[in-house]
């Protein structure tokens, strides 16, 4: 994958390399995503798809190269700045990554409570978000009571519930793509 990033790119990776004990997983990767563009990453297991998304969210830093998101160079930001910046991004993990000790409603409301949204405003927004993914009837269930697909839908609702999250990255497993 090699593309030139334009100044309007929402996300751009320039010559990104990262490796672990068994060698480089990504080697000189460059690509960009324009506003309203959808990019699908296809590759075999272990080829670095999840890694690219984690790099894009600043959850990990590359060994070399630059990652720019919404005009910010993530490599130059401190962890404190990154934490504040990530509130603008919705991130759906492969297996949902729901907090297993919280109910579905509490999981979706998590971001809102972190943003100190008034309690009376939280419930309608949680219901609205869960209705969008057709999971409104699971409000009081724990993640352990949900199937894999349901967990991912709740995770999508959690990513979209924050109104700051106007840019979303959604990672879907092959089985979920129809």
């Amino acid at each position: 994958m090699s593309e030139t990033a334009t100044s309007e790119s929402v996300l751009s990776l320039e010559n990104v390399s990262i490796g672990f004990d068994k060698g480089n997983v990504l080697d000189g990767l460059s690509f960009s995503v324009a506003p309203r563009e959808t990019k699908i990453l296809i590759g075999e297991s272990g080829s670095g798809k999840t890694l690219i998304l984690k790099l894009a969210a600043g959850l990990i830093q590359p060994d070399s190269g630059t990652v720019q998101m919404l005009g910010h160079d993530l490599g130059r930001m401190s962890e404190r700045e990154l934490l504040a910046f990530r509130r603008n991004i919705g991130f759906v993990f492969q297996e949902g990554a729901l907090f297993d000790s919280l109910t579905v409603a509490e999981n979706v409301a998590y971001c809102l409570r972190e943003e100190r949204v008034k309690e009376e405003d939280i419930e309608p927004r949680v219901r609205e978000s869960l209705r969008f993914v057709e999971m409104e009837d699971t409000l009081e269930k724990l993640p352990a009571e949900l199937s894999g697909g349901m967990k991912r839908r709740v995770s999508i609702a959690r990513a979209l519930v924050s109104r700051h999250a106007w840019f979303s990255m959604i990672l879907l497993r092959r089985a979920s793509i129809r």
Partner: protein, 275 residues
Amino acid sequence: MATTDPKLLQPNTISITGALSEGAKRWVLHVQEYALLSGRSVTRLFSPPYYVSDVLDQMDIIGVGSLPIVLLTGFFIGAVLVLQTAAQFERFGQTALTADVVSLALVRELGPSITGLLVAGRNASGMASELGSMIVTEQVDAMRAMGTDPVRKLVTPRMVATVLMLPLLTAMADFLGLIGGYIVSYFTLRLGAISFWTRAIDTLEFSDLMQGLTKPIIFGFIIATVGCYQGLTVKGGTQGVGRATTQAVVTASVFILVSNFFLTKLMLYLAGHVF
């Protein structure tokens, strides 16, 4: 004629210095990472947001949850101390000194150490397995992705709760130990309540109480930071969580026992020069 590759004839040797150097580097890295995590858990106390409800939850889990085993153990430690010392003091006709020994040993040394070890066994392992499971299931990454600092949300509340609860648990263990000691000394030495409790309380000085209640603060910090560090550095899935849990208990226990020696030395020095 076919020739053999000379590289194949060389024995497959492992460089001892290389292995030692790698081991030392890994050890230094662990120390550095642990020190950084411990430091961050403290610095997060001085800036918002604060997770007060998480601190209260942890105080309930660590304090109230550990209370039964700490009380039971404290009682029997006090009781067995009397059994062990009574015979010695009887030989000199100084059975009343049993109260002094039980009181000093419990408040200065056994109360803090035993309570620390029990809470390490119960809570350092719990913290390591809980945070380790969160790492394995990407819940910590999800937290970071939603803009929450995991150190602030997960480590600092556990550290604060353990540091606050351990001195209280130690005080309870000391008290139950004295009750255990009194009951056994009443039945074995026929020591009266007034005689036992007067000696047990009068023998304690301010420096003894300082020693007995300062140590648990340090031990609490060790238990929480070691448990959280082991949990947050889990590698290798559920097997890794198991390893981290064991490692958390072993490391916290060793740290408690080693630091106890140096703390005792420091406290004795302070008792002689300050208090």
